[in-house]
Symmetry: C2
Subunit: 340 residues, 2 copies
C-alpha cells in the first residue's frame, strides 16, 4: 500500500473514531426515578409485592427512557414517567396517595427545566387527575411559578387538563389508614404540636424523576400526596422549588423524598446544585454530603435522586430503603427497594 | 516606677483592651429592613409622602433595635418590626396590602432562625391580623414548616392569635387599584398567559427584616400581600424558605423583595448563603452577585437585605428604589427610598 493511501486510511480511521466519540457524547441520555424513601425492610413485603413494585418502577423508567432514546425532551420523559407512578396505587402520588386529616387527597407537584430554570408547581390540588401535568402547565402557561388549592385546580381545568372527582384518588386501603391514625390521635391533647403518630413506620412514597436528553437538557420533577394526616393545608418540600425539586444544566437536576420539613429548611435540592457550582464537587460527593451529613445533622430522614450534566446518576438515602430505578446509555440499568 | 509595677500596669492595660474588644464583639447588634423594591422615582411622591414613609421605616427599625439593645432575641426584634410595617397601610403587607383577582387580601409570611434553621411560613392567609405572627407560631408550635389557605388561618386561630374580618385589610385605595386593573384586563384573551398589566409601574412593597442579637443569632422574616391581581392562589417567594427568606448563623440572614417568580427559580435567599459558605465570599460580594448578575441574567427585578454573622449589613437592589432602613451598634443608622 502506498504511504499516501495509508495516511488517508489512518486519518479516516481517526476521524471516524472522533465522530464516534462525539456522537456518543451527544447521545448520552439517562433517567432516574424514586418512589419514596423510608423505613421499609424486606420482611415487610411478600415476594409478590416486591415483584409488583419492581415491575411498576421498571415500566415507568422504561417509558421515560424510550422517549429519550427517540429524541424526546427530558421534560416529556419526566412527565410521562411521573404520570405512570401517579396512576399507580402503589405509591404516594396521584391515585392511591395518602390522605390528609380531612380524609382527602391533597396533592403537590413541581417541575423544573435546567436549560432556562423555568419552573412550575402546584400545592394542595384535589381534582386534576395528574398533578404533574398541572405543574407543567404552570411552567408553560402561567406568569406564576406556584399555584395552590382550588385556584390551582381551576387553572388546570382552564388549561383543559383531565379533571376527576376528588374521590377518584381515594383507595380503601388509604381510607382505613387515615381512620386508624385519627383514632390513635384522639387521646392526644395538642393536635398541632404532636407529630403524626408512627411516622417512623411509614414509607413516605413521594415520586420523582430526573432525566437528561440528547440536547443535554436536564429536567427534574416531583409529585406527592404529602404527609399522611397532614393538617391545615400543610405544604411539604415537593412543590417547593429549591427544596424538593431543582434543575440547572450547569450542575444537575434533583428530586427529593422524605420528611419534607427538613428538606425545606436546608433547601436540599438547591444545596446539591450549589455544592457542585460553588465548591466544584462532583455529583456523588455533593449528594452524599447533603443526605448523610447535612440532613442527618438535623435529623432529616429521606433521600434524593440526581443526574449531572454529564449524565452521571446518584441515588442517595439515609433511610433503610428507597424505591428507585435508573437507566442510561452508558449502561446503567437498575431497579431496587432496599439498601444494598 | 519600679519595672515590675510597670509590667503589671501594661498587662492590666492590655487585658482591659482584650476584654473591651471581646465585649464589643459580643454586643454587636444590627437590624435592617426593607418595605419593597420597585420602580419608584422621586417625582412619584410629594415631600409629605416621603416623610411619611421615612418616619414609618425609622419607627419600625428603632422598635426592633431597642429590643436588641435590651438583650432581646433577633426573633423578637424581627417580629415586632414586621408587625409595625404590617399594621401600616403604607406597605404591601397586612392592612393595606394589594388585592388578588378575587379582590381579597391573600397574604404570605415566613420566618427563619439561623441558630437551628427552624422555620415557619404561611401562604394565602386572610384572617390572622399579623401574618408574621402566624408564621412564628408555625415555627414554634407546628410539626410542619409551611401551611396554606384557610388551614393556616385555622391554625392561627387555634394558637389564639388576633383574628380579624377579611375586610380589615382592604383599603379604599387598594380596592380602586384592583378594580382598575381588572378593567384593563378585560380586553385580553388569555387571562392566564398574560402577566399583570403595568407591572413595571408598581412598587412591589413586600416587607422584610433581618436582625442579629447579642448572642450572635440571626433571624430573617418576610411578609407580603403578594402580587396585585394574582390569580389561582398564587404563592410568591415570600413564604418560600430558601427563596424569599433564609437564615444560617454560619453565613447570613436574607429577606427578599421583588418579582417573586424569579426569586423562587434562583432560590435567591439560599443562594446568598451558599455563595458565602461554599465560595467563601463576603456578604457584599455574595448579595451583589445574586442581585446584579444572577437575577439580572434572567430578568428578575427586585432586591434584598441581609446581615452576616459579624453584623455587617447589605441592602442590594437592581430597581430604581427600595424602601429600606438599617441600624447597628457599629454606627449604621440610615433610612432611604431611592438609589443614591
Amino acid at each position: 500500500m502506498p504511504l499516501n493511501n495509508l495516511k488517508i486510511l489512518l486519518i479516516s480511521a481517526l476521524s471516524m473514531c472522533f465522530i464516534g466519540i462525539g456522537h456518543a457524547q451527544e447521545r448520552k441520555i439517562a433517567i432516574v426515578l424514586h418512589a419514596g424513601a423510608g423505613y421499609m425492610r424486606p420482611d415487610m413485603y411478600t415476594k409478590d409485592q416486591v415483584q409488583d413494585y419492581t415491575d411498576k418502577l421498571s415500566e415507568a423508567r422504561d417509558v421515560g427512557y424510550k422517549i429519550l432514546e427517540n429524541d424526546g425532551t427530558s421534560e416529556d420523559a419526566t412527565v410521562a414517567t411521573i404520570k405512570i407512578l401517579e396512576n399507580s396505587t402503589l405509591f404516594n402520588a396521584g391515585k392511591g396517595c395518602v390522605l390528609s386529616h380531612n380524609k382527602r387527597a391533597e396533592m403537590d407537584a413541581s417541575i423544573m427545566n435546567g436549560s432556562d430554570k423555568n419552573a412550575g408547581a402546584v400545592a394542595g390540588v384535589q381534582r386534576v387527575k395528574n398533578p404533574i401535568t398541572a405543574a407543567q402547565a404552570v411552567l408553560h402557561n402561567s406568569p406564576h411559578v406556584m399555584l395552590s388549592g382550588s385556584g390551582a385546580d381551576d387553572f388546570a381545568e382552564a388549561q383543559e387538563l383531565e379533571m376527576v372527582a376528588p374521590s377518584y384518588f381515594v383507595t380503601d386501603e388509604r381510607m382505613e389508614q387515615i381512620k386508624k391514625m385519627i383514632q390513635e390521635e384522639k387521646n392526644k391533647t395538642d393536635l398541632f404540636r404532636d407529630a403524626p403518630e408512627s411516622l417512623s413506620d411509614n414509607k413516605f412514597g413521594t415520586v420523582g424523576v430526573v432525566a437528561i436528553d440528547k440536547q443535554g437538557n436536564i429536567c427534574a420533577a416531583t409529585s406527592t400526596g404529602g404527609m399522611m394526616n397532614k393538617k391545615n393545608n400543610r405544604i411539604g418540600d415537593s412543590p417547593v422549588i429549591g427544596a424538593g425539586t431543582y434543575a440547572d444544566n450547569r450542575s444537575c437536576g434533583v428530586s427529593c423524598t422524605g420528611h419534607g420539613e427538613y428538606f425545606i429548611r436546608l433547601a436540599v435540592a438547591h444545596e446539591v446544585s450549589a455544592l457542585m457550582l460553588h465548591r466544584g464537587w462532583d455529583l456523588e460527593k455533593a449528594t452524599n454530603y447533603v443526605v448523610h451529613k447535612e440532613l442527618m445533622d438535623i435529623g432529616g430522614a429521606g433521600g434524593l435522586i440526581a443526574i449531572d450534566r454529564k449524565g452521571n446518576i446518584s441515588m442517595s438515602f439515609n433511610t433503610p430503603g428507597m424505591f428507585r430505578a435508573a437507566r442510561s446509555s452508558s449502561g446503567e440499568n437498575s431497579v431496587a427497594i432496599f439498601s444494598e
